[in-house]
């Protein structure tokens, strides 16, 4: 690794993130091919840089919002893409992940960038339900609907959704306090 090399984190559906290093002069395509994230010859890929937090700026009364996080041109170099600042690169087949969150008999929806962390979706959801007690909001977490799975806050939505789908449902549940 040379001094100027950049450490970046590669994310994709159903995959544990990979940490790789690359030269600022490398194209992102070269990095993704080397890490076997994309197959050779595949031209139509959706790749996002950075972790998207747009939903946190959304007013609480907005319904069915959509992130504007756009995929980038992977033939640009890491330097041009400012990967040293963004650090995270997410490859996904979906432009957006349609999320439904259920709480107290109500459902809120948003189309998130695949490169959105569960922490951001959780923060967004806690603000969206006026009947959620703000004093106890910190104890509410996202659980994949119909399961007991609670993804970690650092996981990306695009990693968590099932293969072949661009949507996911969560229940906003109170984390159990250890007792006894």
């Amino acid at each position: 690794m040379e001094n100027s090399d950049i450490e970046l984190f590669l994310h994709a559906q159903g995959m544990t993130p990979q940490a790789v290093t690359a030269s600022p002069e490398d194209t992102l395509r070269k990095v993704l091919l080397r890490a076997a994230i994309i197959p050779e010859g595949k031209d139509e890929v959706l790749v996002f840089v950075g972790e998207c937090e747009e939903a946190l700026k959304e007013a609480s009364d907005i319904e069915d919002g959509v992130d504007e996080h756009e995929p980038i041109d992977i033939d640009l170099t890491l330097d041009v893409l400012e990967i040293h600042r963004h650090r995270h690169v997410h490859y996904h087949r979906c432009h957006h992940i349609a999320v439904e969150v259920n709480f107290g008999g109500k459902t809120k929806r948003h189309e998130f960038s695949p490169a959105t962390t569960i922490a951001v979706v959780t923060q967004w959801a806690r603000k969206k339900f006026p009947n959620l007690d703000p004093a106890a909001a910190a104890e509410y977490v996202l659980q994949i609907a119909g399961t007991a799975t609670q993804p970690r806050p650092s996981e990306h939505l695009g990693e968590v959704v099932s293969a072949g789908t661009c949507s996911i449902g969560f229940d906003l549940v109170k984390e159990i306090t250890p007792q006894g």
Partner: protein, 166 residues
């Protein structure tokens, strides 16, 4: 020569999930100045960043016993990096009364109080709490869990609104 469990831990702190949190300043390995003279596997010393609170540190250190990593859950508690011994109980982070935070970081009333966290990820706290595995199945430690699950669980508490300071 290091043991397989130590090598597994060392591989986990080189892997992306750990490095992502480290790059964000969420956690890290304690520096040599914070370690006791006899520091050696299976004891490891890490820190977790905390939300800013008046007169409180910006990070808390933990001393963990990782015997049996990853098959067995960790056990351990807060560490004083200056005195290089267990953190005095009056310096432990405090939480909103009645909150999950306050229960997890309680310092009395269970096996291991003061030297373990009251949480299913702590193998000492698990003693006598067979119900936890059915009440909190998502927090049952398995060999697919890593030190990142542990750090993320407790670091999330230390940056939550229920954390009040020390």
């Amino acid at each position: 020569m290091s043991s397989p469990e130590q090598r597994l831990f060392e591989a986990d702190v080189q892997a992306a999930p750990y490095r992502i949190g480290a790059a964000k300043g969420q956690w890290g390995l304690a520096g040599a100045e914070a370690l006791p003279e006899n520091a050696a596997w299976p004891k490891v010393y890490l820190w977790m960043a905390a939300a800013p609170r008046t007169n409180a540190p910006d990070r808390f250190y933990v001393a963990l016993d990782l015997t049996g990593y990853r098959t067995a859950p960790p056990t351990g508690a807060f560490w004083d990096p200056v005195k290089r011994k267990a953190l005095a109980l009056d310096k432990w982070p405090k939480g909103r009364a009645g909150s999950r935070f306050a229960m997890v970081f309680r310092t009395s009333g269970f096996t291991g109080a003061g030297s373990a966290f009251y949480h299913p990820y702590d193998r000492v706290a698990l003693i006598g709490h067979a119900r936890w595995s059915t009440e909190q199945p998502h927090l049952v430690w398995s060999d697919s869990h890593t030190i990142v699950d542990y750090l993320e669980e407790f670091q999330t508490l230390l940056t939550s609104g229920d954390y009040l300071g020390i």
